[in-house]
Symmetry: C2
Subunit: 293 residues, 2 copies
Amino acid sequence: MIPAFIEQDAALVGERLARIYPEGSRTTKVLYDAQKYSLLAGGKRIRPVLVLETCSMLGGDQRVALDYAAAVEMVHTYSLIHDDLPCMDDDDLRRGRPTNHKVFGEDIATLAGDGLVTDAFGVILSCPYASAQSRADAALALSLGAGSFGMVKGQVIDMFGESNELSQDELLELHRGKTGALIEAAVRLGCHAAGLTSDDQRVEVLADYARNIGLAFQVIDDILDCTQSAETLGKSVGSDQKDGKTTFMRFYDVDGARAYAKQLTCDAIASVKTIENSQNLVTLAKYLAQRNY
Amino acid sequence: MIPAFIEQDAALVGERLARIYPEGSRTTKVLYDAQKYSLLAGGKRIRPVLVLETCSMLGGDQRVALDYAAAVEMVHTYSLIHDDLPCMDDDDLRRGRPTNHKVFGEDIATLAGDGLVTDAFGVILSCPYASAQSRADAALALSLGAGSFGMVKGQVIDMFGESNELSQDELLELHRGKTGALIEAAVRLGCHAAGLTSDDQRVEVLADYARNIGLAFQVIDDILDCTQSAETLGKSVGSDQKDGKTTFMRFYDVDGARAYAKQLTCDAIASVKTIENSQNLVTLAKYLAQRNY
């Protein structure tokens, strides 16, 4: 049962995303079609929901939050497109549909992703309702979360783990980068959408919340990947395991992993409850922890 | 004969770029090594020189210009890494050395590029010497120049031209995107480094200068690619022609292309001369037009 506010937020984000790319001319249509194919494929929209709900909790302007939310989803979408490429995870199926490069070719998929991540910054920085300070803070948070010291670093550690045994600290760094950094960035963008600057203590409380739900999310993903069918999951079962990738399940059995995810969720809820009006973020943390695993 | 200010600027930029990426741990070293491999491979550094000289002409803070210049070169470097990938131009040689994916593999090369373009925004947005307005303006100009309506669009048109005959308008749009947009962004970043806002008339005069030298640069590149040896050029001769790519030489013979490049350079010089202290930008336009073709 998806909480109503998540579905409402996701619908708003979908409408905003549908306005990013034009029809295109005969030379450029394939690019914009490829971008829209992955951007409008649905998905849970967890990251943009976090931007919207964080901003809403803090009393900020939802028009700003919607632009920032779209940017985070564009970055998430680019990361999925590139992650699915033959030279990376080589996946054929994503959200129950052929992956981007299967439909548009590797060259266009690469460029569609390149465009998405680059354009995401433009969406933030051209938001007409936000101050220059808010836009600069938000775009910086996105760069730090998505770049070579955040999400990209996580991907590289993930690949390193394919042919090397990772220590538990390295596995944590992998998860914090690959999944956690962009989830943390989403919450930071929500804060900046509401006009909070980086030295506001609530930003760090919320970043802590995000890191915990992000890690829980990845633990649960690993559990699902090892226990669920392709039909339920919309991607190849055990696709992470089959090529020897290091996952969370190398260090925990299923019960242990479930207990760990639960503890992370409790920690997340405890920290966010110190902030007023955080009901929806509490609900979101619980919802993520109750996925079908 | 390279003008002294270009060599001095390029050296400053090289020093700044050398400070972007750390040594890294055993899991991340390969990423930062791959990024440094291409970032510190030399090259003409024309785009960062444009940032520095534009800012200097306008009396701006060179510390700001240096951060913005580094960001533009990071984006240029990412575009070269991805452009060389097997699924794109499939080049083995770049600046006389093996291309990034030949040394580090396609997966790391893809991620090294992804990180470079994402981190570039962070370098601008964390510049401690610039106002939030300057940083937001500069990062927006970089996004617009590099993204799906600028450089990435140019790449897609280029690929479309491999299997379709392009009209001359489409070829111009290709060049304006693939090469021109980032050169124009460089000049805009120089303006924003000096504190000019987008509505300052000088920004448009300089953008016009940039578009003209950018187009001239690409015309000359196409001439060189069709006339020079691999040794002089540091890449495979006729590498653009051999796979049926549309280049400028489909519409012009060598003499015609030279005349066109000369006219573009004259137009560029005429526009930039209307601004005070533009000697170095005039010299730069002349230097670029006198490359060995």
